[in-house]
Subunit: 388 residues, 2 copies
Amino acid sequence: MTMMNECAARISALQEKLQQQELDGALFIYPIDVYYFTLTRQNSTLWVPAKGEPLLLVRKSLSRAKQEACIADIRPFPRSKEFAPLFEGQQQIGLCFDVTPLQQYNYYSKLLPERKFVDISMQFRTQRSVKSSFELERLRHSGTQLSQVFASMSDYLRPGLREVDLAAEFESRLRRIGGEGLVRMRAFNQELFGGLAVTGPSGSSSGFFDGAVTGRGMSDASPHGASTTVIEAGQPVLLDYTGVFDGYIVDMTRMYICGELSERMQHAFEVACQIQAAVVADLKPGAIASTLFAKAEQMADEAGLKDYFMGVPGENARFVGHGVGLELDELPVLAQGFDAPLVAGQTIAIEPKFVFPDLGAIGIENTFAVSEQGGEKLTPLADDLIKI
Amino acid sequence: MTMMNECAARISALQEKLQQQELDGALFIYPIDVYYFTLTRQNSTLWVPAKGEPLLLVRKSLSRAKQEACIADIRPFPRSKEFAPLFEGQQQIGLCFDVTPLQQYNYYSKLLPERKFVDISMQFRTQRSVKSSFELERLRHSGTQLSQVFASMSDYLRPGLREVDLAAEFESRLRRIGGEGLVRMRAFNQELFGGLAVTGPSGSSSGFFDGAVTGRGMSDASPHGASTTVIEAGQPVLLDYTGVFDGYIVDMTRMYICGELSERMQHAFEVACQIQAAVVADLKPGAIASTLFAKAEQMADEAGLKDYFMGVPGENARFVGHGVGLELDELPVLAQGFDAPLVAGQTIAIEPKFVFPDLGAIGIENTFAVSEQGGEKLTPLADDLIKI
């Protein structure tokens, strides 16, 4: 069975790493991490020993976990005193420190006294960054679905609508074709509701979001994405949305304009497309993420736009692409400091954008898979500015 | 200025607790916790000393935090070596262990060596559970807005639609009147995209969600809420949705039926409404949360429905209400073990529901504020079954 083989391959790749690190096994408690190895996201704790069969301990729902999970040994979460005996002789335990709350850590430390817990966040995220053909199929599907919605929006968009109307319409079209809505992010302090619909000066609002564009949002409590700003002719409209199907997230951006774009914006849009093309041509195994970012930044500089690249001057984000998969913020990041060579099957959203104070944001974004031929586009829609 | 006074009052209530516990101060790093005290959710770390002025250290965006935050001392997040000097003489530091990832804890432990960090999650959540009149105003607004959408759905709902169509329509109507979408939950392992639209047997799917009803969802990666199940005449349709405005969440459920409900379902619906009425009558300061749950369960028992109360037999959730506010899962919980007396201004979603295997779920839910007169209904819509 494909899904069984898929999970077995993922577990065995992890086990190889655990053995190299001389860990006795790894404990996964974060829902999407458990899902990655088992294909169930029921409330569970997964133990993967360095050698041997994994064990899934389910809190809720056991019946559903049994239907969904692609591993053999599934049990109800044991009572406290029955927990430790399951881990006899297991001393060095891998754990993702990035998503384990301190309360959970203290709880498991008490259940398993005198063990050494070791942070495996980075190696786990590195494993996750490379997608199998099973995963690439799902990402292609997400890309095709999301592209449809982007293509369809020209029949709705018109001056006089508010950003939030556009967001509501986009989100509901996406939902009707099966979009799951919930966008998982791993980074502490980040959160996102679907995406952004911003126009004119809203596009240059600064904010907490680790991206080029934040938007004003509906309130200071949700200071991100669409606001009640009204769309006007001649103002660029930027839609930056995720599509989530079967848990797999793709990310894309398209620009729309009612009327004509200013020359300055038109120029910036063309430069963004050129940067995307240059990065994508190099999206091959062995390419260095930080080099791709440097190249993108240099092209922005040569076009006289460096100050506006990936943010308003002084608040520029320092990346041009980010991994996507079961989470929106996977590895690799095309940014300074990411010097590991790319690997075939990594999936990366490339999003060169320019943000001009008081004028707004413009750019392009597609999701690509790293391949020998350069980036394979997973979001099959023309990059053109969409004129209404 | 109202908002300044509001924040000052929240900080001073916290400081009183910190002094009682002999803590030198508390560090808040989780976005919505920072928002609670400052009214900005920009990426920041908040220090509240037991005595004196709080300090907000902002990573991104400083300019926006300065516009939004209602405290005086706002600075860019310092370089590592400049961090410790800000905390000289501060030894016992409160921290919410429930939402602090281990990586963050290790980071702050290194920045502030030889400090003792103390878990203040419960006392902070207890403080948050009691809403000021400023907050109650916001919750009333959320309730009015959300009620509108529930009332409007009868012009859309009809047999032949899929659950996900209904979800898309509900979510987009909510968004157009300003709904922020993002629903924050505090509990580890819980997540929610807006709410549930379920019909017939979908309502009795078990799942990870800590509630009576989970729904099938669109995939095993998002096993919660609407699925592609088609709505049929005679099948109960349950809409359980949150409304988020200015960050404040209310929660409600209404039942819809195309045609006629079966006698068994009709009976269960009436019992749910009776349980709600009984709990709400007692929703006064001094009432004991666990007693209200026991009463609800007893009424279910007397009606011959105990096995189906709050879940399918054997997978019953053990509560009948939960606090709401900036997060969906606030204190108090009307459940066994919650023995503290209720306090005026606590806001609680009361949701008696029955779940029948293979038949589905039925029930009612409204959000109430605890008051001397019993629960004040914040979701102003009649509880009637809505017939199409």
